[in-house]
């Protein structure tokens, strides 16, 4: 979880005033997106565990659900506040964007607000209702969180995809004259960005959960509790991976059509041509590609199912309209796709072992893979966002508004960026530390599930007592 370092790397090659603002947006968004993934998908996984627990009277599954929802309490809080920072930054960093298009892109955000409400309200009920709400009533109180997670994600992605494929409004002399909410929300890019991100959220959350228990199993904790925890995360995530690869492939083809220059940068297509090769890896510097593997014709085949397909290169637009640092885009794209296939293989391995032997693989390599699968999913997702966002440059709203025009003219962003990096580093470290602390406490068997009366400070001279001090 080092989004800040990644953001700096991503921002380094640019010059001009807009760099600190971009770096700050990248840092805060790169950080929040991990929590957003957990906010979207973790409730479903917790509900799955609770469902199995209630249905089969499975104590282990119920214990997992209770513990996960305690971790969820911390993650939801950090996600809520880091998400709020982004709302502020929309105006503080990009006043030019909001002044001109706030009336358009604000509408999906408004819809997102509704689902954010439902999420927060029912999280309050679900997370703190474990003890007093009866079993199935408690389970149902969590369902709106999972549902609104998906719709909330759709709304936010509607905004981002609209920035990539703006439409659904008319504009005269820089003033918005009319807006069609439906066309704004379901813009062309939304059709592939929405499923891509929601599946990514489920993969990140599922593999992260699985990774925690795979690490435990590697350390010799081979009990039913750990295998259940692993399976509850791994199975949904691995089952969704092939769909994600299909959606991603469709998205790439759509981008070749909708945003050819972004696609050209992703695939090192300098000149519009046919029989375009596919580059795996490689660094593009001054017209040369160092260290990549070249597969002839493959790019044309991927774009149009035949080597004769014409692929538009970045020479189709003047240099000022091309994204900066194509090698970053290309490598991020390759890393994302590569990790996607590694995760697919892990899932296939498990499926094969289950089919042949009715058990999970015994090989240490599989569990090592499982332990890092969450991290891999996060890296893949972050790389995907770098491709989307850097690839749209120099535009903030594709072909309508440049990032430079949108950025704040206020100075001091370098200062706020530095502060944010420090604060978020502490925040990230503290969040991980607290999750580890919870895990340690659970392992030591401190009875968090037992009825612990709310005990105010355990001071030296005074043991914890009941609430009423009168």
């Amino acid at each position: 979880m080092r989004p800040s370092a990644m953001a700096l790397l991503a921002a380094a090659p640019w010059s001009g005033d807009v760099v600190p603002a971009r770096a700050q947006m990248a840092t805060t968004l790169g950080f929040h997106i991990i929590l957003a993934c957990l906010g979207i998908a973790l409730p479903t996984i917790v509900l799955l565990a609770e469902f199995i627990g209630l249905r089969r009277h499975d104590e282990t599954a119920l214990r997992l659900a209770r513990r996960w929802s305690q971790a969820m309490g911390v993650l939801v809080a950090v996600g809520a506040v880091t998400g709020t920072v982004l709302s502020f930054e929309m105006g503080l960093l990009w006043p030019g964007l909001m002044r001109r298009y706030g009336a358009v892109l604000g509408l999906p955000f408004g819809i997102e607000g509704l689902f954010f409400f439902l999420e927060a309200i029912f999280a309050g009920i679900y997370l703190w209702g474990w003890r007093r709400l009866p079993g199935w009533a408690h389970w149902w109180s969590g369902v709106p969180i999972a549902v609104s997670g998906i719709f909330g994600a759709m709304s936010v992605i509607a905004v981002n995809s609209w920035m990539n494929q703006p439409g659904g409004f008319t504009e005269r002399n820089g003033r918005i004259m009319s807006v069609n909410l439906w066309q704004v929300f379901f813009n062309h890019a939304a059709l592939y960005e929405m499923p891509h991100m929601i599946l990514a959220a489920y993969m990140v959350s599922g593999f992260l959960v699985a990774g925690v228990y795979a690490a435990g199993i590697l350390r010799g904790r081979r009990d039913r509790y750990h295998y259940s925890g692993f399976a509850l995360g791994f199975v949904p995530a691995a089952a969704l991976t092939p769909f994600q690869i299909f959606v991603g492939d469709t998205a790439a083809r759509a981008i070749a059509h909708d945003q050819p220059v972004k696609f050209a940068s992703m695939e090192y297509v300098a000149r519009t041509s046919r029989q375009v090769p596919e580059w795996l890896g490689g660094v593009y510097v001054n017209g040369r590609i160092y260290g990549g593997v070249k597969i002839p014709y493959l790019d044309s085949v991927l774009v149009g199912f035949g080597p004769g397909t014409r692929v538009i290169g970045w020479d189709s637009v003047p240099p000022a309209d091309r994204p900066p640092v194509v090698w970053l885009l290309h490598l991020c794209f390759d890393v994302m796709v590569g990790l996607g296939f590694v995760l697919l293989l892990a899932g296939l391995w498990a499926a094969w072992a289950w089919w042949r032997h009715r058990r999970l693989p015994r090989q240490r390599l599989f569990w090592l893979l499982g332990a890092v699968s969450g991290l891999a999913a996060i890296v893949a997702m972050e790389c995907g966002w770098v491709v989307t966002e850097v690839g749209r440059q120099p535009w903030v709203v594709y072909r309508l508004l440049s990032t430079t025009q949108a950025a704040t003219a206020n100075g001091g962003i370098v200062t706020s960026l530095s502060l944010i990096i420090v604060v978020y580093a502490v925040l990230g470290t503290a969040t991980i530390a607290i999750l580890r602390l919870l895990a340690r406490r659970w392992r030591r068997g401190e009875a968090t599930e037992a009825a612990v009366p709310y005990g105010p400070p355990l001071s030296v001279d005074q043991p914890a007592g009941p609430l009423d001090s009168s």
Binding site: L181, R441, Y454
Partner: protein, 350 residues
């Protein structure tokens, strides 16, 4: 239609003030609760009351921002540019408040709890203050219509600073009144009296700051002052009466209905400001509700959105609050390790 959206924005701001504001106030009383031993019971009550609801209450802020930038993008950009510094500080405060509060519950080492608790409590004080200065800057007409640079003078005028202090006092006042009710519901007489005293202090301070702000406004923005004492006068009177009523009820030891009356008083202040400023959005400029940059279709969509929100969010909030009132939601479930006092107070204690 723009007027309707203006009213929706003001209603959402009101809800943030009376719900989210009280959560900040809880942090204020947590900060002032004293040493570990003395502050034990009040901190426990604050923790118990805020935990299940603060995130839902906090969403009103996000909703306010979204409605503001969607319906009035030009005004939004101007405010965000001119008042950038206090807004950054408020955003930072929000992060520290939420994270500090969530972390404090889960950590078990007392010293770490103190750091997290201090982050929660201090930022509960700073965040409403900076938000108040921004509103003060708007009300005094210090935000130019085409603002493209941060301005220090906009939010450091006496009126803006008074507004900042007023926000803190109002949050503390609301929180104390709500906590009186919470203590009464738990049958804890001692805590009820404890927070009743603080609610009375809060009422006096908030009342004094309101009057001072009003006096200051008569010179800093005479037009707004004239309308506050003109067409908005009934609301100003309602605010005053509510404040006095809460004060009197607390003196009499009555707790029934005081939460509603206190919330009504704060709501009257917000609406008084709104009515006095109408139809101007940024006083002192030509920016009004109707020319702040959104087309008719956007207003229609926002009104529809708000109707859906009322139908969907209203019952959900009602469920959350009623479960909370019936004490069906217990933070104790997950808190073997409770909060403690902030760092500063501990140092003094030594």
């Amino acid at each position: 239609m723009a007027d309707a959206v203006g009213a929706i924005l003001l209603a959402s701001v009101t809800l943030y003030a009376i719900l989210g504001g009280a959560d900040f106030g809880g942090g204020l009383w947590d900060l002032l609760a004293g040493t570990t031993r003395r502050g034990r019971a009040p901190r426990a009550l604050i923790e118990d009351s805020i935990t299940p609801v603060w995130e839902a209450n906090h969403v009103w802020l996000v909703f306010d921002l979204v409605i503001f930038w969607t319906a009035f993008p030009r005004a939004f950009a101007a405010v965000m540019n001119a008042a950038a510094l206090p807004l950054w500080l408020a955003a930072g405060g929000i992060v520290l408040r939420g994270a500090g509060f969530a972390f404090r519950k889960e950590v078990s080492t007392l010293s770490v709890q103190r750091v997290a608790g201090a982050a929660f409590a201090f930022s509960s004080l700073l965040t409403p203050f900076f938000m108040g200065t921004v509103i003060g800057a708007i009300a005094t007409g210090s935000i130019p219509a085409g603002a493209d640079h941060a301005s220090l003078s906009a939010w450091t005028s006496p009126t803006a600073l008074l507004a900042g202090f007023l926000f803190v006092a109002a949050c503390g006042y609301l929180a104390a009144v709500y906590l009186v009710g919470e203590a009464a519901r738990r049958g804890d007489r001692r805590l009820q009296a404890y927070f009743a005293r603080r609610a009375q202090v809060g009422a006096i301070v908030a009342g004094a700051l309101s009057l001072a702000g009003l006096a200051e406004l008569s010179t800093s923005n005479p037009a707004l002052y004239a309308r506050l004492t003109g067409r908005a006068l009934p609301l100003v009177v309602v605010a005053g009466v509510c404040g006095l009523a809460v004060f009197a009820l607390l003196l009499a030891g009555r707790t029934k209905g005081i939460q509603v009356v206190a919330a009504l008083g704060v709501a009257a202040v917000v609406w008084g400001w709104g009515v006095a400023q109408y139809p101007e959005l940024l006083p002192g400029t030509a920016v009004t509700l109707t020319n702040a940059g959104a087309p008719q279709a956007t207003y229609t969509a926002l009104v529809a959105l708000f109707i859906v929100a009322v139908l969907l969010i209203g019952p959900s909030f009602a469920l959350l609050f009623s479960l909370q009132r019936r004490r069906m939601l217990s933070p104790s479930e997950h808190s073997p390790a409770p909060p403690s006092e902030p760092l500063r107070l501990q140092l003094r204690h030594r």
